[in-house]
Symmetry: D2
Subunit: 361 residues, 4 copies
């Protein structure tokens, strides 16, 4: 009776529960189940492929991951060079700075009385609380730091490197900004004006209008040149938002000025948004291929899941097989301590897109 | 500057990645992060509390979990008695039967050409494929089995016990139905008419109209009496749907006829639906309290996640600390091999709700 | 510069706001926008095509639509014969009965204190409240009615017709059940055991165990025969759930026993669930084609929206062009007042699937 | 039997379908139903209250609304002054510019072959297509325009005003940018670096590194001063994203420097994101109150719906009662044609937050 079909080749292998399985064991067993479980297991494989290949791995970070307890996972991914370049929302950097400075976020409840919280000057992020006076003091600290910089335009990449350095020197604590500083990993924050980092910077102008010049247009140019200087990229996106699009537009612009640089060769996204409302956060990786953001043959996977579940499992699993690949990775080397960064010894302009080849007309 | 607030007591502890962490390690570290990660960690604790207490644990199973590779996780939960009574959609039992009978589901793609699949008689469940001719043969097998039963009404609980027994005797394979048969765990399927199990039963009537009498109203009565006979319940719900509501209505009806039996003392749900469209699948556990489905002081947690990610991790974590609690559990004992089941030696009628106390007027 | 592409043919026409536009005007203007707005406009066209064609239109009703204020929209669709056969969850029929009996649901809040609600015996459905004592009295009323029926098995279709008739005779009020009774439109409720209708029926057995025999397996057979007797169907699904699958399984089973009867020729669903978790409620209409639930060339559209927004707009829009199509519709005629229903004068068995042609082997 | 409860006061009024109802009629009838339908009806009332009060109404625009056919709805809201100040993603302004320049977006399909689209240089936004060569030509046009500006920093507000003016003078066509130019309504774009507008600006630097200086920190200061200069604000948010947060941070920063300025007095959001993953796009308006983004007694409503359904209905409904309120509105008056904008004749600095009162310490 059974008709053999080309569609019926690889059976589902039901997940079998055993004692003391590690994260790696669990994800390997999830490769042959279905739905988002399979996708998360595939994400593990795709990330391993990125590490084994000669690509620059971008990490996009959106959603309240730092406040939500994942900042040291991201710091770990940076420090161990599971990723090479970070694009983040301002909020994730701000909440990271908050904890690196020794303050805390707190376990709260989504059912809390927000009027009572407001009266006690406690700010809520879903089920997580923080002290508003401490936030205000952060803003002032950022303003103060900003006034120590030269009164000239800084890309967010340069600004955040300096901020990470100052944080590391004054606190000596682990975090996203300090890990990136120490590992010489660039961080871009294209929407810095829409965050408390930006608010802190803006307060530096209370001292003088010449402070707080942030050159976000320079970031666009620099990120495109980064890809032109070292073609071959991969994208790991947590949560969509501006980082997801910024990583993709860098790829598109690099390709326009330097045809053949191509879209990402690998793409992995862990998102909660869905495609069918048309927004960029939920956009599928297939759609990205129509734009050339992603190569036609790119290994890719979308995991529809909250990163607070998916990332601890995935990052833990990566530690088991990854160190070997990490040791042998041909990863890019950066210098970040000036207006002009370098990648593998080549300068990366923020003033002009420097095509290796001239663009096709 | 910092004002101490009663809201700022328990700091978030950022998740730290280490090598070779087990599922249990990972969930313990997730207890102090935020959002759905914290909720999943809390689910682990709540389930452990259920096991340590003297309650009858209901498991509701909806969504395509059997086709999606989780049937042996559910079988494990039954066999090891992490749960005492199962309420399932028909599809999950049907896809379980399919694999227990030696057929398979297959790894597929959500981007497959459905017209091509239809031409090859392959049925798709998102990213999972199955053979339609094999499904048709299942239906006939179910019809054949059904004609071996006495021509009288069966509750789904009795019918499924007999089906599980027949499956076990003819295949000797692990699965949900066979595990429940062997562990004497009752399974209810209130929406059996909306499934291929029901379709198979309906085809038994091609032999004679007296076959396939399923007494779903008896299930309602039996499930309420089950709670009246052994007050103190907990609810573990995967995916919402009819099982979620059926477990709750049993509690409500038991309370009506036998006041003080009360709502569930523990409730844990892993769902992807949301509350704000008003449907029962996404309804919050707080809402359940207004109905008395859940005790006012019940330990409860909702995890918004795909069960194919959350359940492998959660069930794996439960194996580490649970065996001790499992060994000492005061779990109910059932006999299921007739029209009248028993719990802890007491008969459970499907004909009349037998209140211990008379209902309040 | 512009390269003409076959993909760039029909421009988006931006929606233009004008005063005093009707629902029909608005939906027509939405046909050339994007995303779910376009889908809702397409749903309007697809439904009009159903009305103009010679098909039996099934309506599936899930989610708390009756409690949520849409029961008279559904009653209108039945009374005016925009649909021919209804498949509903029990809850929607129960909440309909509640209001038809003169009780009300109430405007509430999702932020209400559920413990306070429980103390006042108020039940909450997201932002909507109801009186628990009134619900209990409904259950008793249903039990009482059930004991007036012959002590023999009833399909839900027959039972609900009798219930609608009794409701109409005792209240004279509009509603889903009474509209279906008066318009001779059958209602199936495959998951009746998972609802307060089922709970009420179960309480009839407190009088005698011979009451409350519901033959849900008969419903499966009857619904398949309905399609075999009058091939050519369309599916309008609100909210997924058991009604969505029941309508589809009837089509699949009809096709199996009477090849060529085919899948639905039109399909329209308004759902909030998504496909990527694998559940049936969110399953795409493309997936349905792999199963043969839907014809390969079926006009189809999925609208991802809360029915409480989409349905008032869509049903209002349908009133403008529809009366002409309604008047000329070749709609099926039913008799429902006995164990054996008829469609267009032909009997529809609930005891045996009566293939017009023998099934292919 | 019925116990009167304070919770059971306002009955649900089922929606009644009638012919030729206008958008306004429909929304009024939806005020007494449930779930998101009621929320959309409430949004209509809340917006009317904003118009009747003496507040500055901010509009946040995220998601692919311009590409998706809503740009003329937004232009209408600006031109008729249903809103006073716009905060937008770059993409919505870019796609608006694209159509104002006479190019089109096209009706497409989410099931299109993205490799084929890439080969034909067609870019996909879910179910909507556009020509990549036309997009490239837009970028060059933006670059060209940018080189006509003085080589000095521009806030996005000043830059977009100049861009709107240039667009209006060269095309004479309706759109978001041109409507804002003509109505003297400021537009902020805090994440301009994460968009094709930003990419176009960056290409101006191919001419000279002194072009394309965008002062996003100035936007932060200017938006706070805007609120300090004219206290009393309302927030209408479509789709979350950076605009939602930017509108809120302006309010928080204004309050910090000028205590008593307060949070928004009205807030209305139409979003598809949910709160429980912790991201800002889905954050509840209750949570906003903990931060002081929203006044404790603010009239507020969240509508969980795709804006392509909700906004055409809502904007159409507003036209019926609104003209009277529009005529009598005490709306702010702006001048925008220089580095320093004015509101109601008062200058609004982008260099220093100018508190009316000194901040509390």
């Amino acid at each position: 009776m059974k008709k053999t079909s080309r569609f019926l080749e690889t059976p589902i292998e039901p997940f079998v529960v055993e004692r003391d399985q590690t994260a790696e064991d669990i994800l390997v067993r999830m490769e042959r189940i279905s739905f988002q479980g399979r996708n998360l297991a595939t994400a593990n494989r795709v990330w391993q492929k990125m590490l084994a290949d000669d690509v620059t791995i971008f990490l996009g970070v959106a959603g309240a991951l730092s406040a939500g307890g994942l900042r040291l996972v991201i710091a770990h991914l940076i420090a161990e060079r599971y990723v090479d370049c970070v694009v983040s929302t301002g909020a994730n950097l701000y909440h990271d700075l908050h904890e690196t400075r020794g303050r805390r976020h707190y376990v709260g409840s989504p059912h809390a009385d927000d009027t009572a919280l407001a009266n006690e000057r406690v700010d809520r992020v879903y089920d997580t609380f923080a002290s508003e006076p401490e936030f205000i003091e952060n803003d002032e600290w950022i303003a103060g730091f900003t006034t120590t910089l030269d009164p000239r335009p800084y890309t967010t990449r340069e600004y955040l490197y300096e901020l990470g350095g100052h944080l590391w020197r004054t606190t000596g604590r682990e975090g996203i900004l300090t890990a990136a500083y120490r590992a010489h990993v660039p961080i871009f924050c294209p929407a810095i004006a829409d965050s408390s980092i930006g608010m802190g910077i803006s307060q530096a102008r209370q001292q003088s209008a010449e402070y707080g010049q942030i050159d976000v247009i320079g970031d666009i140019i620099e990120s495109a040149n980064l890809i032109i200087r070292r073609p071959g990229t991969a994208s790991v996106v947590l949560g969509g938002g501006t980082p997801k699009n910024f990583i993709n537009q860098a790829s598109v612009q690099a390709e326009f000025f330097s045809p053949g640089v191509g879209g990402h060769r690998y793409a992995l996204q862990i998102v909660t948004d869905v495609p069918h409302f048309g927004g960029a956060s939920g956009a599928s990786l297939e759609e990205a291929q129509s734009w050339g953001k992603l190569a036609a043959d790119a290994a890719r996977v979308t995991v529809t899941a909250d990163a607070t579940i998916a990332l601890p499992l995935l990052a833990s699993a990566l530690t088991s097989p990854a160190p070997a690949s990490l040791a042998s990775r041909r990863r890019p080397t950066f210098t970040l301590a000036s207006r002009v960064m370098t990648i593998d010894g080549k300068s990366v302009s923020s003033e002009r897109i420097e095509a290796v080849h001239e663009p096709a007309v």
